[in-house]
């Protein structure tokens, strides 16, 4: 799950001629915040609209063109049986498919259901849970189809989104550095909140991109951009303990906005031990799904490898 590693994907060639590239924006299970980021680009929105044909962007326009699309931006996680079908159609219709945000790249906050009994969740929220159609787990798009790029964040950063869109339109790789929040903090000149004030901070293991806002506002990073490649969560553990977090708090720290990102999921398991009820449920689910092997491998490469 490296942000900067493109995956090989089928790419229908664009039509001949000089027509504007066709952009589509899709929503799956999400809060709309990541696609809203495009509309929040107040200074860049009209110039961008002059360079691309917005062929499908339901939040912005009634006008809907059928595919194929040159670039599809996908927000949200795959959380219902309909989502599974729809994401395959979007992939087939898209030359490049870029997923945006924590939901699309890691299952999002709704992936907290993956650690629990979703039927019990449905009973908690709905009087008639039998009316609700939902998958047991909320999963990232890449679990279903090949994706060309994953842009992190809850929400994504406006500047990074514009960079990704411009890069794909220009046929080059996006310049999205694979660094931790600590780099951004240093670049911004923010005093380290952990070193100076003993504030627990996930900055060392979290992917940069937000501009290191939280430390600049005097709080620790809470990991909304998900794990950086090679996140050394083992090395951070003693610091989090020193700064006053107990096991349950550390587990919750990692299990919020990117709970199912492999490095954070592994860190939460190590911090909390294997004796939690939620863990048993989860392991049982994986056994049933026959996924144990691939899950362990993933954990190995993201967690242990990174800490070595």
């Amino acid at each position: 799950m490296t942000t900067s590693t493109p995956v090989t994907a089928p790419r229908p060639e664009p039509d001949a001629g000089h027509r504007a590239p066709r952009l589509a924006v899709w929503k799956f299970s999400s809060c709309d915040g990541c696609q809203l980021t495009l509309l929040d680009a107040e200074d860049e929105l009209l110039p961008l609209a002059g360079r691309v044909e917005i062929a499908y962007f339901l939040e912005a326009s009634r006008h809907q063109e059928p595919g194929p699309y040159d670039l599809s931006l996908v927000e949200g996680s795959i959380a219902t049986p309909e989502d599974e079908e729809r994401i395959r159609r979007v992939r087939a219709d898209s030359r490049y498919l870029v997923v945006i945000g924590a939901c699309a790249t890691a299952g999002g906050i709704q992936a907290l259901r993956n650690l629990a009994d979703v039927k019990e969740y449905a009973r908690t929220v709905y009087a008639r849970p039998d009316y609700i159609r939902t998958l047991d787990r909320s999963r990232p798009v890449s679990d279903y189809v090949p994706v060309d790029f994953e842009l992190r964040g809850c929400p994504i950063d406006k500047g990074q989104l514009l960079e990704v869109v411009c890069a794909f339109l220009a046929g080059r790789r996006p310049d999205i550095p694979d660094q931790s929040v600590c780099f951004a903090c240093k670049a911004r000149g923010t005093v380290c909140v952990t070193t100076a004030h003993g504030i627990p901070c996930l900055g060392p293991v979290t992917h940069a991109g937000c501009g290191a806002i939280c430390p600049a506002y005097g709080r620790g990073c809470y990991g909304c951009f998900g794990p950086v490649t090679g996140a050394r969560t083992d090395a951070l553990l003693p610091l989090l303990r020193r700064d006053g977090l107990g096991e349950r708090e550390i587990v919750r720290f990692y299990r919020t906005f990117n709970a199912e990102a492999p490095a954070f999921a592994a860190a939460a398991r190590r911090a909390g031990g294997q004796d939690e009820a939620g863990e048993r449920d989860r392991a049982g689910e994986r056994d049933r799904a026959g996924e144990e092997d691939s899950a362990s491998e993933h954990e190995e490469s993201e967690g242990e490898g990174g800490a070595a």
Binding site: S29, D32, L45, P155, R252
Partner: protein, 434 residues
Amino acid sequence: MTHRSERLLGVSALARVEGEGAMRVTVRDGRVEDVRLSIYEPPRFFEAFLRGRAWTEPPDITARICGICPVAYQLTACAAIEDACGVAVHREEPGIAALRRLLYCGEWIESHTLHVYLLHAPDFLGLPDALTLARTERATVERGLRLKKAGNDLLETLGGRAIHPVNVRLGGFHRLPTGAELARLERQLTQARRDAEEALEWVGGFDFPELEIEHALLALSEPDRYAIDTGTPLAEPGGAFPVRDFERHVTEHQVAHSTALQADLDGRRHLCGPLARWNLNHRRLPAAVQAAAAGAGLGGRCTNPFRSIVVRAAEVLWAVDESLRIIADYRPPSRPHLEVPPRAGIGYAATEAPRGTLYHRYELDAEGGVRSAVIVPPTAQNQRAVESDLRDFVQARLDLDDAELTRQCEQAIRNYDPCISCAAHFLDLTVDRG
């Protein structure tokens, strides 16, 4: 095909709303038989997974219910949990309360302007979107984007970022704004005031379909100011009631065609949001805003849902003025936040999100663990009113062809600025005319 006694109109994916929904209208023998606003946004189970989290966490977590109104969720969660813990920020640190109101004004400016310019105005102009409008009226769209940016800049300065702000916490903020930051905002808002005035005048000049509908109304109210971050629920009919009684008056039901729960007010279909606030509270608006609103055609009572866009524009002008007033009166509090130590108890709060009244309740254990959470968003409350309005609206327009009737139905739905992700749900219109 047999004789055309039945007609089915549908929008399978409603455009220019927040979230995912569908609409289906069935007409038989010249009568509207059924109207369904289906919200098929996948359920996200926030109330379920908030259980077991620490009392400090719901402000950051519930922000993720909605990318368009995260501040509404953050501030309502803070107020409800502070209520459970016995902390009254308004009384103990009025400076913090003023900054919260300023932050909320930023969200009102941003969210309302997004809706007015990018989601709703194109309907009145017969265009698919604001980007098409920009080809002929670039200055108009640029004015809207500039105003929206003023709201976002306020959010970014006070909150750290516009979507899912990071600077909000129980008891107040992590960091207070500097004098230089507030001075910069003041300059920008002074510019924005002109844009807000022009926006109000612009939407006041639109053509509004004839439609007068009476609903029961619900909005927060305060005796001496326009209520957004605090206030007492005021029902019409029914009068005021304490927020801790909210669930006794506003009850949620589940329907088979929607993942969003539907709420009613004392057993009646009701409306919250701009029209409810206008009708219950417009006398609390400053005279200058009332005068500008009157100039844009808003009378003492407004029951035409299509004019909600004018109320939104008037509320933007108010929010800009209120922001300038708060900045002018600002005295920095002695600390960025109050401590909010946990204790066992139940806390209640409601605030006015741009789309309407938002209610939270949390039950905490002695260590601050969340035992249960209840969240009633505005769109869940407005769903029955939307369905009812569409029924009358379609009935009066059965002579239109399917495409035009469908387009007008979508516009009518957008009157409510439905926040379907908030309601946990998406809009898909089908009109069955058989």
